[in-house]
Amino acid sequence: MVRKDIVSELRSRETVVSMFLFVVLAMVVFHYAFTVPGGGDLSFYTGGMLWVVFVFGALLGLNRSFAHEKDEGCLDGLLLCPVDRVTIFLAKMTANLIFLGLIQLLAVPVFALFFAAGRMAAHLPAFLALVVLADVGIAALGTLLATIAMHTRARDLLLPILFLPLVIPLLIAAASGTSAVLAGSAGSVSVLGRLAFLLVYDGVFLVLAYGTYDVAIGE
């Protein structure tokens, strides 16, 4: 299923291109909006900027993640297959994770260039740990909610309404953790606390998806 979603995306380029354009354009806007005459220190704000951009970029991809299944009626084909519903969730979540990771791989250098020149490389392991844990949370929550939203006519509207309030705790942890890392406190208690919070957040939504996905994707 993951391979199918990737091949389909490589051919249509509907999701990744729009996600990437949004992320880069938002960073350019932030760069000019927050440039301080005399080059003031922006490290306190950069974590928030980065994760707002990633969360909204991810939302674009999540909105499209079931589009092929729903628009072409392939959801029935998928549900007819003798595979556990949780397997479908994990495959969809993995595909969403890959698309988000790919966007970040392309966007983080742009971010480093604008906002964190020199500081990111020094604290890369802590930054990557934050990104991986936050991405798993975004993909788990987003895939579950995208599945629920796809059954409604207003799915493009419903997904952000459901997703954004629930992603706020993750956004706060990832943003404050990233700001702390970029400010040079990579090994601090506050960053380790954020990482622990993200781990628990991921666990909660993975368990929730495991327990409810059969109903979420059902009738």
């Binding site: 299923m1 391979r3 199918k4 091949v7 389909s8 051919r11 249509s12 092929h68 072409e72 009626g73 392939c74 029935d76 084909g77 998928l78 549900l79 007819l80 297959c81 003798p82 595979v83 059902g218 009738e219």
Partner: protein, 244 residues
């Protein structure tokens, strides 16, 4: 044959099946059995419950009441073997338009765990006369070609039961001929349940018919029926809607 003997040979056993969406009953107390190798055609006007019945048999809906067993497995307790035993063909081909015919069939072969998928896909594409378009993206296919690919998809895992939901819908006469030829070819290998409005296509292969109206089974008959006789029976039992 007695009732217990019938049930033992039944490939599909449906008892008191009901389905409600919210407070609206769309299917009420429908019962039938289809023997292995049998062909049941469901007739009825729009909204009669034909598609709901097929979607319940295919595990795409959960029954509100009653029980369904397919290939000896109860649908509610044991849906996985039921899914393995079923091939589903509807007017929607259930294939991904961004993928090639080969990629679509490879995907479904993976999902069903088909042994030697390369050979099976090659054989099926040959059978549905799509070998020459094997590596073409499905979005370039005509409606008839899509429906032939849908047949290959449905037969891929050698299902014991084929469920057909108005499979002729939207096809031109040539594509209908190809589809009927294919169904005729695989007739002996499967048990069929087909929903249709089309009298000729519905009666041609069927050895069992049922008329649904407003969610209830209003007529059931085992054995072949002449088209003229069946049309009269249909008019007698169904309040609205005509057969084609």
């Amino acid at each position: 044959m007695d009732r217990e003997g019938d049930a033992a040979l039944a490939e599909i056993r449906v008892e008191g099946l009901g389905k409600a969406f919210g407070r609206r009953d769309v299917l009420r107390d429908v019962s039938f059995t289809v023997a292995r190798g049998g062909f049941l055609t469901l007739f009825g006007p729009n909204g009669a419950g034909k598609t709901t019945t097929l979607r319940l048999l295919a595990t795409l809906l959960r029954p509100s009441s009653g029980s369904v067993a397919v290939a000896g497995h109860d649908l509610s307790d044991d849906p996985m073997p039921v899914r393995r035993a079923i091939g589903f063909i509807s007017h929607n081909p259930l294939v991904y338009r961004d993928l090639t015919a080969q990629e679509n069939l490879c995907f479904y072969a993976d999902m069903y765990g088909v042994a030697d998928p390369g050979r099976r896909i090659g054989d099926l594409l040959e059978r549905v006369e799509l070998s020459h378009r094997r590596y073409d993206v499905v979005s370039t296919f005509s409606k008839g070609m899509l429906q032939r690919l849908a047949i290959a998809r449905a037969l891929l895992h050698k299902p014991r039961v084929l469920l057909l939901d108005e499979p002729h819908s939207g096809l031109d006469p040539h594509a209908v001929d190809i589809l009927d030829g294919l169904l005729d070819e695989v007739r002996a290998e499967h048990t069929f349940v087909m929903a249709t409005h089309n009298l000729r296509q519905g009666l041609e292969l069927a050895d069992q018919v049922m008329i649904l109206d407003a969610g209830r089974a209003v007529f059931a008959h085992s054995g072949r029926l002449a088209a003229a006789d069946f049309a009269a029976i249909y008019r007698e039992h169904v309040r609205e809607g005509a057969l084609v």
